[in-house]
Structures are given as structure tokens and as C-alpha cells.
Symmetry: C2
Subunit: 193 residues, 2 copies
């Protein structure tokens, strides 16, 4: 049971990785990259700290480019990030039999709804898994029991969220990513408790 | 992290029990009973075979009674079973901080939808967990790797589904449960692989 878990180094994607491993899956933590910035390094360190194999999956620049154009036009990130995540899942579903991500029951975006999941599984002959079993409070409780985390002001080099390459490309295009993405704190898993 | 898992001895409720245990929860497998028939015995054997604590939770007969009246009136079981499960979760949520069941992403009934889950968690100050993370194929794959099962024609003494007490009470009321519940085969977990 080999499974690709889309991985950012955060608590949610770490939890789905650990859950599947403990249920008997052969888990590969996978971080996608669009060739704009080596944003996968923090995720690779988290994966190593948890004892997992980590893989970088290079995807086509055009997906990130289109997402960034949407975000610049919208003036806010939700639509572009949703587009990006849906395309990432589609692409990765073409490469693995089982694909998982750390989206949660209470998440709004980016997140596949039930119809999108059914369509994905049918079209791509893939099994898709996420964290829909759990609510926000439960995930907070489980992850704080399982993981040591670092808690830092977010920057380009301490997280592997989509945001890092999106911000880089928006700024490269002459946009102002800091006006679109508010400053925030970033939690990264750095080991087991 | 003590969690009550509503438990029938089947593969789905066994899977959620094992999942939570492997994530660090102190799991009690709980089977509800309405005083009509000792239908909890097969579940207690499955729980023992998996090394879990098993608990029988006695609930008010009136819940089962109302469900059976609905089923007799409808001529089919879905509405009554949905009513029963929703009431069981409500009752058990008043007794535990964390309640889980084995309902799956692809299940239709009995199953709490997202709004019901939010309402339950808020009203009862409880955390609710199910198998929504996984689709049918994935659960089949995981459980067939994890569990030894028995596979028998369903009868009153080889399973602990709601159906057993429902059928008993419908027949006690002079109804014909065999006309409402089609004969089927029953899978019960009898140990780990």
C-alpha cells in the first residue's frame, strides 16, 4: 500500500502521513515544486525528523503561473490557491495509486469537496485520503501530543507551503505579494514528542 | 485522550478504533443496548480479540421503540436507522468528551452530515470523529490487511448491528422483520492478521 502524502512540513500533513504509516501504508511524503524557488527544503527537514522518505515532485510552471495571475487579478489568494491545489492533486493522482493530503473537515479552501473526490478517484483510478475524519479541536489535540513544532514568523525559508513559490512569482511579476498575504506565524514539525 | 468508539464488531468500527488507538487515544469500544436483546455479545468478542476494553451502554428503550415504529410505518429501514443512530450519538456525546463511529465517506445512512457534526460538537462540547477521511476502496484495502474476519449469513447471534434489536422488537410488535430486512452476509472481525 504505497501512498503519496502531499507534504508541507506542517502539523496537518504530518498527521495524515503518520496516520497512514501506522495503518500499514508505505508512505512517501511528497512536496511539489514549480521551479521558482527551492521551497521544499523545510518540508524535507521535517520529513527526515519524522523518519519518512521525502520526495520532491516537479510540476509544470504553467500551473503556478496561472494561479499567480488569478491571485493578482483577484487581489486575494483563495481562488488561486484552490486552483493550484486542485491541479496539484490531479497531477499527482496521475503518478500514484494512493494520494493523500492534510486538508481537514473544517477547512474551506484549498479543499476538494465530495463530488470532486469522487470524480478524481473515478477518472484517475486513484484512492484519495484526507483528514476529513477529524475536526479542528481533535487535530490540535492529536498533533500537540505527537509532534514537536517550531513556531516562527513565516518567511521564504522556514516553510514549504504553496505560498512561498506563489509570493516569489508574484514579486517577480512586479506584484506586491506582501499586500496580498498577511504576515503570519508558521508552525513546522521538527520531530516526535 | 479517552475516546468512546461506537462499536459493532464490524470492519469499519474496528478500523476507527485501531486508528485512534495508534494515534495515542485511550479507546473504549462501546456497544449500545436498549434492553430488548443481548446483541452486544458478538461485538464484545471482537473487541476482546483486538485487545480493547469493551463497554455496553444501556440507552432508553423509547429510542429503539420509536425507530421501530418508523420502520414499520415506512416499510423500509433507512429512516428509522438514521433516527436511531443520530439519537445514539447524541446520548453517548453526553457521556464522553470524544465520540467516534465507523461511518465512511461513501456511506449515506446512517451518517451525520457536516452541519449535524458541527451542531453536535457545539451543543454537547464533544469531539466527534468518523471514517470520512477514507473512501470505500481504501477502507476495504486497509481492513483486509489488518483484520481476520468471519463471514456468515447474518443472524441474531453473530452480529451487534442495530438491526438485531430492531428486528427483535418489530417481531415482538407482531411485525414481520424478515420482510423489511433482506437476508445478507455478515462480516465480523475476529482478530488481527
Amino acid at each position: 500500500m504505497k501512498a503519496c502524502v502531499l507534504y508541507s512540513g506542517g502539523k496537518d500533513s504530518s498527521l495524515i502521513g503518520v496516520t497512514l504509516q501506522r495503518l500499514g501504508f508505505d508512505v512517501e511524503l511528497c512536496t511539489v515544486n514549480f521551479g521558482v524557488y527551492d521551497s521544499f527544503i523545510p518540508a524535507s527537514l521535517s520529513a527526515k525528523a519524522l523518519g519518512f522518505t521525502h520526495k520532491v515532485i516537479q510540476l509544470d510552471f504553467s500551473i503556478l503561473d496561472k494561479a499567480c495571475n488569478m491571485i493578482i487579478e483577484d487581489g486575494f489568494p483563495n481562488g488561486g490557491i484552490k486552483f493550484l491545489h486542485e491541479n496539484v492533486v490531479e497531477e499527482v493522482a496521475g503518478k500514484f495509486d494512493i494520494v493523500a493530503d492534510g486538508t481537514r473537515r473544517d477547512d474551506r479552501t484549498p479543499k476538494l469537496n465530495k463530488n470532486q473526490i469522487r470524480s478524481l478517484e473515478d477518472r484517475k483510478d486513484v484512492q484519495y485520503i484526507n483528514l476529513d475524519s477529524f475536526g479542528f479541536k481533535t487535530i490540535k489535540m492529536i498533533t500537540s501530543n505527537l509532534f514537536e513544532v517550531s513556531h516562527e514568523r513565516s518567511n521564504k525559508d522556514n516553510n514549504s507551503d504553496y505560498e512561498v513559490e506563489i509570493r516569489t512569482l508574484i514579486d517577480d511579476k512586479g506584484g506586491d505579494s506582501s499586500g496580498i498575504f498577511p504576515e503570519h506565524y508558521q508552525t513546522r514539525v521538527i520531530g516526535y514528542k
